[in-house]
């Protein structure tokens, strides 16, 4: 007589674990004042409200901890939730901060890569890359979720947000600002119609060329101080200035 356990051998597997690489924005904090962070986040959200709504985010405390600045994890996470962010990981944290995060069900993310590993059995099909014609209104923000590979060229009439890497040999152009939440290895040109207020934000600067409103720097001009780092790039008195984010 077959026992129950024998019988259950015949069930096809109901689940499997797969590991996929998954990109998520990393929130690198440089100030431990939650009010100020909230204020500046709100400004960012203004740029792309739809994009940030329910967006996953990894909290990065490395910079803060380097400067020995503690931050109240509870307060920070509550604030993020109130802005419709979904914190899914924390890194660069102290053991104490980690434990607090764990209490809030936020796991440690130890990898140094921008790519976040989570289990995800069905990767979302990537959207086609919008072309210039796709953007109806000139103010619109263009959002790209898949890597931009060598030889590809993206033009955005408004702001451009890239949630993945930009490969060497790729070129991204925007009339507004450019945000890259991944390694920026290709060419990035913001304010291409002459907007000198435009900026470039990226979480890992390795670009071949960066330009704002026609003023540019090439890879050779990038010092070790800014290379491989999260930075923002803007024009100050007609000079391209690169600052830590």
């Amino acid at each position: 007589m077959p026992t129950d356990s024998q019988h259950s051998n015949y069930h096809p597997p109901a689940l499997e674990f797969k590991s996929t690489t998954f990109s998520a924005p990393v929130l690198v904090l440089a100030n431990n004042d939650v009010i100020i962070i909230e204020h500046q986040l709100q400004e960012k959200i203004q740029l792309a409200p739809e994009f940030f709504k329910n967006s996953p985010v990894v909290i990065d405390l490395q910079e803060l901890n380097k400067q020995k600045l503690d931050i109240d994890i509870n307060e920070l996470v509550n604030m993020l939730h109130s802005l419709d962010f979904l914190p899914i990981g924390i890194r660069g944290a102290t053991t104490q901060q980690l434990n607090k995060a764990l209490d809030l069900s936020i796991p440690a993310h130890t990898g140094q890569n921008q790519a976040l590993l989570i289990d995800n059995t069905k990767p979302q099909p990537a959207k086609p890359i919008p072309t210039a014609e796709d953007s109806a209104s000139p103010e619109r923000t263009t959002l790209i979720i898949q890597p931009i590979r060598s030889g590809q060229r993206i033009y955005a009439h408004g702001d451009l947000i890239v949630l993945a890497q930009v490969s060497a040999g790729a070129e991204i152009l925007a009339e507004g600002n450019i945000h890259v939440y991944g390694s920026l290895r290709g060419r990035a040109l913001a304010g291409v119609q002459g907007n000198i207020e435009a900026r470039i934000f990226c979480s890992d600067l390795q670009a071949e060329l960066i330009s704002i409103a026609g003023t540019y720097k090439i890879s050779e001009d990038l010092t070790e101080m800014v290379r491989n780092r999260p930075v923002q790039i803007c024009l100050q008195n007609n000079t391209l200035t690169i600052k830590d984010l």
Partner: protein, 269 residues
């Protein structure tokens, strides 16, 4: 459902044909009826690697032009009766392939075969375009050096924007990385990129690492895909690739974790 696999790279001489022969044989050996097509019109050598060069009567171009039927042109492999080879033409040039014609042949093959492996020519021109256009899965063959990685990245851009799936807004081609001619010693010496270096640049699902191996040359000299040499490291590595592609869990072998050229140049992250 049949699946069309393109084996592609951008750069030449990285091991596409070696890989096409090995994986086609591997899938067929697992009992899946498989066809492997040589898209390298004018430079055919898949038939040499498969050891059927003396049995070629008709080729891919003949079938597209209606000069022969698919059944007349397909050559059954001498080692495995689940495997068929559609050779390329030696005497035509690459303009002999039409997009419509390739689509027609693939549709016909899909009725009868589980896997259709397309061995792409090098470059990003017409031949490589036609080989990838109808694909469901792509095996990106890359050597651990900067120029090969760069060309693979370029090919990935083409897959995600110019393929049939991209044009029809369907789920994108599934992309897999195959790192071939890998030599842990040379990685250690800093002469080659490491697996991590390559992954850092391409961020792709790694299907396998094939070591640099004498067995590959021996295999192609004797006209038997290297995967049949079960004692060889390269043969075992390709067998792992097939297992992983079919959903089995296999730890990666033949990898040394040491930092390569890239790590040395740019520091670790």
């Amino acid at each position: 459902m049949a699946r069309i696999i393109v084996v592609t790279s951008g750069k030449g001489g990285v091991g596409k044909t070696t890989t096409s022969a090995a994986i086609a044989m591997g899938l067929a050996k697992r009992g899946h009826k498989t066809a492997v097509i040589d898209f390298d019109v004018g430079l055919r050598n898949l038939d040499l690697i498969m050891g059927c060069e003396r049995r070629v009567v008709y080729d891919f171009v003949n079938v597209i032009n209606g000069e022969a039927t698919l059944n007349q042109a397909l050559i059954r492999d001498k080692n495995c009766n689940q495997l068929y080879i559609l050779p390329a033409s030696q005497t035509r040039d690459k303009d002999a392939l039409s997009q419509e014609g390739v689509g027609r042949i693939l549709d016909e093959l899909k009725k009868d075969f589980k896997y259709i492996v397309c061995d792409s020519p090098a470059g990003i021109e017409r031949g490589a375009f036609l080989a990838m256009y109808y694909a469901d899965d792509a095996f990106i063959v890359t050597n651990p050096e900067v120029s090969s990685v760069r060309d693979s990245d370029r090919m990935l851009g083409i897959l995600s924007s110019k393929s049939r799936r991209a044009e029809h807004n369907e789920e994108p081609i599934k992309e897999y990385l195959l790192l071939t001619r890998y030599s842990p010693e040379r990685v250690k010496l800093g002469e080659m990129l490491s697996v991590d270096d390559v992954q850092e640049i391409l961020s792709l699902h790694l299907l396998g690492v094939i070591p640099e191996s004498k067995s590959v040359l021996n295999a192609s000299n004797s006209g038997t895909p290297v995967i049949l040499d079960e004692k060889s490291d390269a043969g075992q590595a390709y067998a792992d690739v097939i297992a992983r592609y079919l959903g089995e869990d296999r730890p990666h072998r033949f990898i040394d974790e040491k930092k390569g050229l890239f790590g040395k140049l740019f520091g670790s992250k």
